[in-house]
Symmetry: C3
Subunit: 471 residues, 3 copies
């Protein structure tokens, strides 16, 4: 017998009747608010070219590391799912790849992936039967059929999803041509970029050399000279702002910062650029660059995001065979109190500076991040990130930060995704979980319901817009 | 329209009806028990002089770091709130300061500060409208008017609050004159002191030199000699006991202890006192002194409190401009298993020793503190502290310690506050949260309700009294 | 008035009616499934000899470190409870020891020990009054009386408990004679062993030298030679497999692994065996041996368990007076991401390898273990362990691992106990808590109830059987 698929209208709300009723009322206030997506990884060429998406495997399975990491952990070969290796995308029977996924869909029970996917299946594609082995072909054919339609092209979906603004993320070596094309097209959708300078900041990144060459070419600066290097950043930041960017983003293995004297900073830079780097120099340079970026943010008003704590490409054999970003990034313990201190000593009390902190180490929510954000005017807390972008993870974030940092030192939700179709699902989960948390506070007499309604609206819409300076 | 203020009689109880009913019954048993406040920071001169409190800003806003740190984090200047800097208290329009607070009261939504303050506003001052911009002057005037009345003087409030015993905290350089005056006054209120020797133990404390001079003067000991220094401690401990003290308190950045051979301890002390301290000596001395204090506790029966893990005055520019204790203390990861071992190797198995451990690092509840306290006869667990003295924080404390340490290796609640008016509110929150936790155990068939009622009474009254030897 | 004892049929289920009803239905599906006990510490001689258990103190109190550590923490002398010291078991009045326990039973309120014991008292011995001072003798006499009966002998209880398979744990110096006797007896009960080589891997273990001698004697290998040493392990692994073992177990203070070149590994081994060990060599050798064991597991198919993170025998005076394993093991922070990397670089992508990870540091659930197990084909997560083998601990395990690792990278429950009579109680707690967690997911619209029922059955029965290769 085929299993039915239907989205429970009360999903993610507490079962207890009084609390659920409050959650419903709060959610009703925020359900239909436009989506603010200030940080993510969708491909700007989708909106520049507005070509139809290829097919179910290419769109939904092969690029989604949440999915293939779980399947891989249970013995499925990445090649069988269409995940590219160093030699490019494998030549596979896509229908078969989809069947493997369908057959193993039970692995995702209790995970956010199943919540997001079922939302996409039901709401975007209109399925009313569940994905399993017996419905695999039905799904595969129907999805591909719909993706070919005009109303499933990127811009049409963007409008249907009620997205008010969507930020992509590009590196300093990016020409921003897709963003230029979007703006030139006259389309009203607001798709903006974000400056993520990691490729020219992280000396240990395998593409560092190449990125530096393009960085020099695009800016005309002598990027091997410390002053030229900083000038090139300023120039590219201006380019990015011209392409709509209001924020930068920094993905570092730690939250360490440094505030070296100019002479020392220059010496560090020279050691690195002349191949004379000493142990710790790469880390010191990343640390110093966070402070440099904060300085530039004070100059140009860009919001600064710090995503710290991922041990990237943990699986070395897989890195060798398949390259980066194959679901093998693992969080690690991350220290902020001492790590951020040099930057904060320099700029922490600046009201005009907006630094948004993210973590993969939940132990710092109550111990470090909420106390820091509840004191420093420059600090705000980004939402539960990556592995913690989930109902339980979001709830822990609120439970462990609110009492010390309040709601107003947080910045609402980031979907942080390349899975474009899941964006409404992800924001819906965040809104529901926040309403569930607020409903509990109301039910327990800790917050008035009208105050809670205002907070719900702020979290869903006003706070991300303000924190990312998107007005 | 003005928002009403009323305290939900079921606040902090779970919404689920069966559990709530049990929580209500348990709470009814402990609601009116006298307050035991064995650790806090109220000013003994209040009770010695029994003068009226000055005004709303001086009493409720300017000294409360929970409040001004949050306002500061959102861009409010400390000067505008009446918070003193290095040059003393700013000369401000107090009514305006109160208005800033009132206008920003929404920042405290979901925080314990709003719970405590609303309790104070409703129960102590009788307000029935909420604090917001439009009621700011009403609040300001009414509070000031009431504070001038005889029944709002410190001793009257002490009695109205049903406080059985209140411990303040003083340093070794304190003359204890206020406590003497209280005792000499014939007033029946029991206000006792606590011996907190940090100023003469923490070499890195800026007032170390000055404190040592007074320490010498008050004791007549040669405190620059190791034996004289220890004798001075013994003497002051006796002075403090004469002023009612039953406990000492130690606020250290880490939980590290040492048990050096006497010769080594003396050498360490001499290096420090002769300006020949080596890196790590300050930390080693604090560590050694915890063991010395444990030794003295065995001699004189004083309970020993260790408050470990705060990175004090994290904001250096603010420390420079405003001095210590300005809401910029940030918790840090704190290790107890190896840190406490030298002290425990020496005295851990002593049944007559009572060491109460506190932490700002919640990760150690289940991993380190509960296992330690569930084994060593000398160790007990203090309640959720500081940033974690909150409904969610207290609940996590119970959830993460009870199964390994039980209830009877914990010591009930500490309000740990200088905000005198909030003491009943804080104890009420603790009693409610404990009853909520117990009610869940009962509702889930994990504890009989009559056993739960006994535990509730023990946590609210019997355990703190016994653990701090206050009978 | 004597307190009654009755087990609440809904114990450990959420109080909320809808969720409780779901939990009941899920539990009904798994309640009576046979017990798979793939890891524990019962004594195989019980089943070999099938002699009656001695008495209540010897069976239930003196060997249970959960019980005597709590009593010790509250000032009870171990000698008074019959806990042996270095001179052997104390000669005590057993009835009096039981009375001490009965009088202090309130210390266990809210702990898993009281859940387990009350289950044993009610279900195994049929008590309907609670254990307290007034019922102490009643309990003592009745238990001893019943233990003398044929239907309370080990094999009879094994069958009554519906145990399908029970694994004990033995070291490389064990002759496995009890397992041989069990197999030779023709009894149908499946009692198997587990290979735990710690005594010949942990150079810092006090019995290392002695264990190595027996290791040599039992295998006939030159175990002081690196190749001979490895061959001896292979031989003993084969012996253990012949005694039913499907798994090895490794109790290490850290999760560190190494993958040294053969020449280096041999040099390390030689330094250790010739008394020339350098600082860190003992840790390095344990680390290297985990990788060697993984290599052997790939050869012989044995499942590999890693129990990391206990600081054993923390109480040095007690270790001196009473020896190892006296309730003084304390967890410590444990790092897996970098620690496991050498082993994972070598064997992490092997589908045929099954490594089950355990931790005493709950912070790694969401930060390290779930992300690792949700990626590497060789890794699975063992259940909440030791201090965390408790309702709250199990719930945190599910809440913090499921969203990233799913249910199918976990392996169901381990009772890990030497308290044979409590095995049904422990599995019952695990089944109830899992059903409670699943019921919440269903009630919150995150999982279909029929999927949840399938997961419940998998967690209770299918997953442990598969993960430990017990079919």
């Amino acid at each position: 017998m085929t299993k039915l698929l239907s989205l429970n209208p009360d999903r993610l709300f507490p079962a207890e009747a009084t609390t659920r009723a409050i959650a419903r009322r709060l959610y009703e206030e925020v359900r239909a608010l436009p989506i603010i997506s200030p940080h993510g990884h969708t491909d700007p060429s989708w909106f520049a070219d507005d070509a139809p998406f290829t097919d179910a495997v290419d769109l939904l399975l092969a690029p989604d590391h949440y999915l293939y990491r779980m399947l891989y952990s249970q013995g499925v070969d990445l090649a069988d799912l269409g995940v590219p290796d160093r030699n490019g995308a494998p030549n596979i029977d896509r229908r078969k790849a989809w069947r493997i996924f369908a057959r193993n869909f039970r692995l995702f029970r209790g995970t956010p992936s199943s919540l997001w996917l079922n939302h996409v299946f039901a709401e975007v594609f209109g399925f009313d039967v569940a994905l399993e082995e017996t419905t695999s072909d039905l799904y595969y054919d129907r999805i591909n059929e719909m993706l070919a339609r005009a109303d499933f092209k990127p811009r049409a979906l963007f409008e249907r999803f009620n997205i008010e603004v969507l930020a992509t993320t590009e590196g300093p070596a990016d020409t921003l041509e897709h963003h230029a094309k979007i703006r030139a097209s006259g389309w009203s959708g607001r798709v903006i970029t974000t400056y993520r300078p990691d490729p020219v900041v992280d000396v240990e990144h395998e593409a560092f050399g190449e990125a530096m060459q393009i960085f020099a070419a695009l800016t005309g600066q002598d990027v091997l000279d410390w002053r030229g290097y900083l000038a090139a950043h300023r120039q590219r930041r201006a380019d990015f702002r011209a392409a709509g960017a209001t924020a930068t983003d920094h993905g570092h293995p730690t939250a360490r910062t440094l505030d070296l004297a100019p002479v020392q900073a220059e010496a560090l830079f020279r050691r690195i650029m002349t191949g004379k780097a000493e142990p710790g120099d790469a880390e010191a340079f990343r640390a110093q660059m966070l402070t440099e970026m904060a300085r530039m943010s004070l100059e140009d008003g860009m919001v600064m995001q710090i995503h710290a704590g991922s041990s990237r490409n943990h699986n070395r054999p897989l890195l060798k065979s398949h390259g980066r970003d194959k679901g093998a990034d693992i969080p690690q313990a991350t220290e902020y109190v001492n790590g951020l201190r040099p930057l904060l000593d320099r700029f922490g009390n600046e009201k005009a500076l907006n630094i948004i902190l993210f973590t993969l180490d939940e132990t710092v929510y109550s111990r470090e991040l909420a106390p820091l954000a509840g004191h420093y005017p420059s600090l705000k807390l980004g939402p539960a990130w990556w592995f913690h972008d989930s109902p339980e993870g979001m709830m822990r974030f609120r439970e462990q930060t609110t009492e010390t940092a309040g709601f107003y030192n947080t910045v609402g939700f980031n979907d942080d995704t390349r899975a474009f179709l899941s964006i409404p699902a992800r924001h819906d989960v965040a809104r529901r979980v926040d309403c569930a948390f607020l409903a509990r506070l109301v039910a327990e007499g800790r917050l008035d319901e009208d105050d809670a309604a205002q907070v719900a609206g702020d979290l869903a819409y006003a706070l991300p817009k303000a924190a990312y300076r998107l007005s």
